[in-house]
């Protein structure tokens, strides 16, 4: 096993006491957790499955599982990474059983897309063209606020691999924007 992976495994084992030690009084803290992270998790889920209904289901299931495993949370600042990991696993589990229906278009999506600037639409389009190995770490970083090391731990990858993927993902998105900018300039001349 590579030394970086070993480091993260050991580090995780030596973490402090659970955050939620008194489960009878955990409800207010759990609510604070939901308030702090539900929006970010929803957006992450949406970009994983591209369906608002399924994204909400994923968020619901993530928090249910989080509630049941609340004793496993070792550090309050690790909550975001912990929840993201639960959501990714849940998405992978549901994705295996899910068969997309034809013409699933959410009216909210249409309205949101219609109001968005062209640059945003272009970035969204390119983001969907990215392969999952590039898209997922980028989503975890931008939406989840996870560091390269946290993403590496969540995805069971070496930090250097994650950094390379993040670099390439941005490179591809920038390239798409640059092409679009050139095309616009040509149209203008």
């Amino acid at each position: 096993m590579c030394p970086e992976k070993l480091f993260f495994q050991r580090r995780n084992k030596t973490l402090a006491q659970p955050v939620f030690t008194d489960m009878r009084n955990a409800q207010p803290e759990f609510q604070a957790l939901v308030e702090a992270h539900s929006a970010g998790l929803f957006r992450f889920a949406y970009w994983l499955c591209r369906d608002r209904g399924r994204a909400e289901d994923l968020v619901q299931e993530t928090f249910l599982r989080a509630w049941r495993a609340l004793g496993d949370l070792r550090e309050a600042r690790a909550a975001r990474g912990w929840l993201t990991t639960i959501l990714r696993r849940e998405h992978a589990r549901l994705h295996e059983r899910y068969t997309p229906e034809i013409a699933e278009i959410d009216p909210d999506d249409i309205a949101a897309e219609a109001a968005a600037p062209i640059e945003t639409l272009l970035l969204r389009q390119e983001l969907l063209r990215l392969s999952e190995e590039y898209r997922e770490p980028l989503l975890m970083q931008v939406l989840g606020g996870l560091s390269g090391e946290e993403i590496a731990a969540a995805m069971n990858l070496a930090p250097s691999t994650v950094m390379t993927r993040l670099f390439r993902a941005r490179q591809k998105l920038r390239a798409a924007l640059a092409v679009s900018g050139t095309a616009k300039q040509r149209q203008g001349t």
Binding site: S38, R43, W47, R52, E56, L123, L127, M163, L173
Partner: protein, 227 residues
């Protein structure tokens, strides 16, 4: 960290908290300008990903969690119900005699041990409301009450109070349906107590060994009365 290293790192992790990265940004003007230019792209990216979040998502998540926290699968509920029916039957078969009031008082305290650790003071109006629920009218003379709740005691509604004593928490169990002729002493499981007649029922006062239970009995005599 040199300029090339900084820029490469920035293009992978623009919000890095790495100390060398942050220090280079502070000290190198060219790289600070580079970061400022690239920030436009980061803003555009964040904007593209920020799809609208459904209204009241947080409230729905908490509601769902609350429902699942209390709900149990039907199979489990059925098994639990069956056990609840079978256990008393088996106990009755094995022990033809019924447990004494003293034993039931101690068993109830042990079953709800977590309330012994209650620390918040319960306001008088809450104590009054609880006692009223079980049919007791009261004058609020009970001091330092840390818990007040209605509990089933010997299949009848009873009142469960925790008060602060000199040697630890003192439990008062109001049992308006348990009439006794004479006071009864309790000495079991590390608890000492007394059950005294009270109105048409009785009240158990139980604390740690050495606790001056008479003080609590006096509070009781001038306080709640069975309506």
């Amino acid at each position: 960290m040199n300029c090339q290293g900084f820029r490469q790192h920035y293009l992978s992790e623009p919000r890095s908290r790495d100390s060398a990265f942050l220090e280079h940004r502070q000290t190198c003007r060219a790289c600070a300008e580079f970061a400022a230019q690239e920030a436009t792209f980061e803003q555009a990216l964040a904007g593209a990903l920020a799809v609208p979040v459904p209204a009241k998502l947080t409230a729905r998540v908490i509601l769902n969690q609350t429902m699942h926290r209390t709900r149990r699968p039907y199979g489990l509920s059925a098994a639990a119900a069956l056990l609840l029916i079978l256990i008393p039957v088996v106990v009755m078969l094995l022990r033809p005699w019924s447990s004494s009031l003293e034993q039931d008082v101690i068993a109830h305290i042990n079953d709800e041990r977590e309330y012994l650790a209650a620390r918040e003071l319960v306001p008088d109006n809450k104590i009054l409301a609880m006692l009223k629920t079980i049919g007791v009218s009261t004058k609020p003379l009970l001091n330092n009450v840390h818990y007040a709740g209605v509990c089933p005691i010997r299949h009848q509604p009873g009142g469960h109070l925790i008060l602060a004593g000199a040697h630890g928490p003192v439990t008062m169990l109001f049992m308006p349906h348990e009439a006794i002729g004479q006071p009864r002493l309790i000495d079991a499981d590390g608890f000492r107590g007394i059950i005294v007649p009270h109105g048409a029922g009785s009240v158990a006062i139980v604390g740690q060994p050495g606790e001056a239970l008479d003080d609590f009995k006096r509070q009781l005599i001038s306080a709640p009365e069975v309506s």
